[in-house]
C-alpha cells in the first residue's frame, strides 16, 4: 500500500495525518492544480456536490449514497471547510483523492476556501487545536489559492442513463421511464419520483406537488412555489429534439457583472487569496434571486442576480444549466428560473442544527447519441461572439438528484463537549 493509500485509509477513519504528510500532500496537490485552468473541463458522467463544511460523517454518507471514488466521478463545488467539526479530515481526504485519482475528482473553490473566512468560521481554530500550530492551516490555504474557480461539464446526456432502481412507493412504478428530465432518489437508492420532459402547464404542477419527499423534509421550510421540492416545476424546457444536454457551468456562488463569458473567467488571475470584490470574488459569493438584473448582496460580498442575467449568460455561452452551491436549501437542491440554474447543497442538518436534507446531482453521459460530437469549441473560445441564431434555450441535461439525511448521530462521533450558544438562550 502506498503512502497515499495509507493516508486515505487513515483519513477515511477520520484520523488526521501527521503534519509532515500534510505538507507533502499539499505540495503535490498544488503541482496538480497549477496545471488546471480557471475553468476545468469535466466530462459526463459526473456527480456534482455542493457545500460539505467539515461534516465528515456526512461526506462518508455522500460517498455511500453516490458511490465511492474512483467508481463515481465527482465534482465538488467548494466550501469543504469551516463550521463542522472535521474540516481538516474532510478537506485532506478530498485532496488525497484528488492526488490519487486526478481524473476522477474535481475540486473547485468556495468562498470559505480563504484565509480570512477560515479564521472566522472555524477551520483555523480546528487546525490549531489538532496540530498545536497554524502550519497545517497555512499549507491548506496555499492549496486553496490554486483551486479552480469553475468547471464546465461537457457531454451530459439529454436522457438519464437508466438505472435499475425500485420505486419507494410501488404504486408509482408504472411511471414512464422514457424522456425523464428529473429523477429524484432517496438515500436507499429508491426512486421517489420522476418528472418527464414535456411537462409544464398547470396540470403537471399539481402532480409535482404531490411528490413524496425525503422523510425529514418539511414543506413549510422552503416554500416551493411551483411544485416539488427543489424542482422548478414551471419549467417548460421540454420538447426539443436536441440530444445533447448542453454544457453545464459549475461555480460555487454564481455570476458576476464583470463576467459575460466563460472566457473572461479563464483570463482571471486566480492564484491569490479571494479578494473582497471583483470578478473572482463574485463567482464565489453571488446568489440568484427573484429580481431583475443585479442587486446588492446581503452577504456583503458578491451580488444578487435575476433570471434575465442567467438567461442571457446561458444563451451567450451555450449553456443549458448553471450549477452552484453556496446557499442552504432545506430540500438539498433547488432549481430556479425555469431550471436554468440549480443550487445543490450537500451538508445535511447543516451545522448540526438546520434540520435540512442534502442532495447530489448526477449527470449522465450522452449515451443515447453515441456519434454526437461536442461542439468544437470545447475549451477556449466557446463563445466567440458568433452566436447561433437559434433562439430556443438549450434543453437541460437529464438530472438525477439523490437526497440524503445526516449520518446517524452515534456514527458521527460528536465531540464530547458541544460548543455552547448554538442557540439564543
Amino acid at each position: 500500500m502506498s503512502d497515499l493509500d495509507k493516508a486515505i485509509a487513515q483519513l477515511r477513519a477520520c484520523r488526521p495525518i501527521p503534519e509532515i504528510q500534510v505538507r507533502e500532500l499539499c505540495y503535490k496537490a498544488r503541482e496538480l492544480l497549477i496545471e488546471e485552468g480557471n475553468v476545468v473541463s469535466v466530462d459526463a458522467p459526473v456527480t456534482i456536490c455542493g457545500d460539505i463544511h467539515g461534516q465528515f460523517h456526512d461526506l462518508m454518507e455522500l460517498f455511500r449514497v453516490g458511490g465511492d471514488v474512483p467508481d463515481t466521478n465527482y465534482l465538488f463545488m467548494g466550501d469543504f471547510v469551516d463550521r463542522g467539526f472535521y474540516s481538516l479530515e474532510s478537506f485532506l481526504l478530498l485532496l488525497c483523492l484528488k492526488v490519487r485519482y486526478p481524473d476522477r475528482i474535481t475540486l473547485i473553490r468556495g468562498n470559505h476556501e480563504s484565509r480570512q473566512i477560515t479564521t472566522v468560521y472555524g477551520f483555523y481554530d480546528e487546525c490549531l487545536r489538532k496540530y498545536g500550530s497554524a502550519n497545517v492551516w497555512r499549507y491548506c490555504c496555499d492549496v486553496f489559492d490554486y483551486l479552480a474557480l469553475g468547471a464546465l461539464v461537457m457531454g451530459a446526456g439529454h436522457d438519464l442513463a437508466p438505472i435499475d432502481a425500485p420505486f419507494a412507493d410501488p404504486s408509482q412504478s408504472n411511471t414512464d421511464a422514457d424522456d425523464v428530465e428529473i429523477e429524484l432518489l432517496n438515500s436507499q437508492g429508491q426512486i421517489l419520483s420522476r418528472f418527464p420532459r414535456n411537462r409544464g402547464g398547470t396540470q403537471d404542477t399539481s402532480q409535482l406537488s404531490n411528490t413524496p419527499s425525503s422523510p425529514s423534509q418539511t414543506k413549510e421550510q422552503t416554500p416551493s412555489r411551483n411544485g416539488a421540492p427543489g424542482t422548478g416545476a414551471t419549467s417548460t424546457s421540454g420538447g426539443s429534439a436536441n440530444n445533447s444536454g448542453g454544457a453545464v457551468l459549475c461555480v460555487h456562488g454564481g455570476l458576476s457583472p464583470l463576467i459575460d463569458s466563460i472566457d473572461k473567467i479563464r483570463l482571471l488571475d486566480r492564484k491569490q487569496e479571494v479578494p473582497h470584490e471583483g470578478a473572482m470574488c463574485d463567482l464565489l459569493w453571488s446568489d440568484p434571486d427573484e429580481i431583475d438584473g443585479w442587486g446588492l448582496s446581503p452577504r456583503g460580498a458578491g451580488f444578487l442576480f435575476g433570471a434575465d442575467i442567467v438567461d442571457c449568460f446561458n444563451r451567450k455561452n451555450d449553456l443549458s444549466l448553471i450549477c452552484r452551491a453556496h446557499q442552504l436549501v432545506m430540500e438539498g437542491f433547488k432549481e430556479m428560473f425555469s431550471s436554468t440554474i440549480v443550487t445543490v447543497w450537500s451538508a445535511p442538518n447543516y451545522c448540526y442544527r438546520c434540520g435540512n436534507v442534502a442532495a447530489i446531482l448526477e449527470l449522465s453521459e450522452d449515451g443515447a447519441n453515441a456519434g454526437y460530437a461536442p461542439r468544437s469549441n470545447g475549451d477556449m473560445n466557446r463563445s466567440n461572439g458568433v452566436q447561433s441564431e437559434k433562439e430556443d434555450k438549450r434543453p437541460g441535461p437529464g438530472r438525477r438528484y439523490r437526497v440524503f439525511d445526516a449520518a446517524p448521530q452515534d456514527s458521527r462521533g460528536m465531540p464530547a463537549k458541544k460548543p455552547v450558544a448554538d442557540y439564543f438562550l
Binding site: V120, R299, A301, Y423, F424
Partner: protein, 365 residues
C-alpha cells in the same frame, strides 16, 4: 462517574447522559448510589437551567466586545478572569436584535410620563444589565431582578465589588430602588406564595421574561404570570423573549439538540407561534393590546432596526450565513401585551400585529 447508573432510566424519554459531566456525582463520596432519586434529577435539571445564564452572559460579552452593543456593565458582571468568548456572527446579531428590541419597549414605557413612579420586574434576570444601562439615576423606577440563589449570589458579589455599580444600586432621592431577589419562581405558584420585598402593587408594572419562563412547565409559567396580574390590579404589561416554531425541521432539531444538553423548552409547543404568544398574553390579562415579532422581522423592519443601525452592524462582521440567520432568527420572538396607562400610550403605535406570512404557522400548528 459510575455512581449514577440510574440517571438515564430516571430521565425517561430523553437521550444522552449529558447531565453527568455538568453536575458531577449527586452524593460525592456517598456509597449509596441508590439514593439518587427524582429530587436529585430535578436539582440537576435546575442546575442546567441556571447555567443557561452563562450562555446569555457570554453571548452578551461577545456582542459587546465586537461593538454590536454598547454595554460597559456587561464586563463587570461577567466572571472575572474568564476569556471573552467569540461567538459566530449570527449569534452576535441575534443577541443585538433581542437586546435592542426589548430595550426599545422598555424605554418607551419609561419615557411615557417620565416623572411617574414605575416598576419593572425581571424574571430570571441572570446577569442582565438593563437596570444599569437604562434605569439607574435616570428614571423613578423600582427595579426587581429575580433568579435562583445560585445566580443571584455571584451577581450581588460582583455589584458589591464594583464601586460604580454599588453606587447605582443605592436608593436614590427620586424614588429609584434596585432589588435583587434570590427566589425560585415556582415558589410564586404556592398556595401561600412569598411576598417580594419592596414590590408595589399600586404602580404601573412591567414584567420581563427574557428567555426564562420557557423553561417552566406551561401551567407553572402561567401561574407565575398570574401571581403578578392578580396582585397588581392596575396597569401592568409583559415582555417575553422566547423560542418559537418547534414543529418545522429546524425547530425539531433545536428541541433535540438542546434536549441533549439537558435543556428542555417546556412552553415551546404550547406557544409555538407569534399568534399563540399574542393570545397567551391576551388570556393572561394583558387585554388591551398584544404584539409579537420574530427576531428576523425585528432585524428587517426599519421601525425596529433603523437603516443606519443595520448598515453599521453589517459592517462589523462578515456574515456569510444568510440562510441560516433567517432560519435561526425566525425561531425566536419578542412578544408583549399590556393593560392600562402608560402602556397604551407607549406601545399602541408599535408594530406587532399579525402579518400575512404568519399563515405558515397556522398550517403547521
Amino acid at each position: 462517574m459510575s455512581t449514577i447508573p440510574h440517571l438515564n432510566t430516571l430521565r425517561s424519554g430523553r437521550r444522552g447522559p449529558r447531565l453527568r459531566g455538568r453536575r458531577g456525582p449527586p452524593h460525592a463520596g456517598s456509597e449509596d448510589a441508590g439514593r439518587f432519586d427524582e429530587e436529585d434529577v430535578e436539582i440537576g435539571k435546575d442546575r442546567i437551567i441556571q447555567q443557561t445564564d452563562q450562555d446569555a452572559s457570554s453571548s452578551r460579552m461577545s456582542a459587546v466586545s465586537l461593538g454590536y452593543l454598547d454595554d460597559p456593565f456587561a464586563k463587570t458582571l461577567f466572571p472575572a478572569g474568564e476569556q471573552v468568548p467569540k461567538r459566530y456572527p449570527i449569534i452576535n446579531r441575534g443577541t443585538y436584535v433581542r437586546t435592542k428590541a426589548i430595550d426599545k419597549l422598555v424605554i418607551r414605557f419609561l419615557e411615557t410620563n417620565p416623572n411617574e413612579q414605575k416598576q419593572i420586574i425581571s424574571l430570571g434576570a441572570g446577569s442582565d444589565t438593563r437596570f444599569f444601562r437604562l434605569c439607574a439615576g435616570k428614571y423613578k423606577v423600582r427595579y426587581h431582578e429575580l433568579d435562583f440563589e445560585s445566580n443571584v449570589v455571584p451577581k450581588r458579589a460582583a455589584i458589591r465589588a464594583s464601586e460604580e455599580l454599588s453606587r447605582m444600586t443605592l436608593p436614590s432621592d427620586n424614588g429609584s430602588t434596585y432589588h435583587l431577589h434570590a427566589i425560585d419562581l415556582r415558589d410564586l405558584t404556592n398556595k401561600s406564595p412569598p411576598v417580594l420585598p419592596g414590590m408595589s402593587t399600586e404602580i404601573p408594572t412591567l414584567i420581563l421574561s427574557e428567555c426564562c419562563l420557557c423553561y417552566l412547565p406551561p401551567d407553572t409559567a402561567s401561574s407565575v404570570i398570574q401571581y403578578f396580574t392578580m396582585n397588581i390590579p392596575g396597569s401592568i404589561a409583559m415582555i417575553l423573549y422566547e423560542p418559537i416554531r418547534p414543529f418545522d425541521s429546524f425547530g425539531k432539531t433545536m428541541v433535540s439538540n438542546l434536549g441533549s444538553r439537558g435543556i428542555e423548552l417546556r412552553t415551546l409547543k404550547r406557544y409555538y407561534s407569534l399568534d399563540a404568544q399574542r393570545q397567551r398574553l391576551r388570556l393572561s390579562g394583558f387585554k388591551e393590546g398584544q404584539g409579537a415579532r420574530d427576531v428576523y422581522q425585528l432585524w428587517e423592519s426599519d421601525e425596529w432596526t433603523s437603516k443606519d443601525e443595520r448598515e453599521r452592524i453589517e459592517k462589523l462582521e462578515w456574515l456569510d450565513e444568510i440562510e441560516e440567520w433567517k432560519l435561526l432568527a425566525s425561531h425566536y420572538c419578542v412578544a408583549w401585551g399590556w393593560r392600562g396607562e402608560p402602556f397604551e400610550q407607549a406601545w399602541k403605535e408599535v408594530e406587532g400585529g399579525r402579518t400575512p406570512d404568519e399563515q405558515r404557522d397556522d398550517e403547521v400548528g
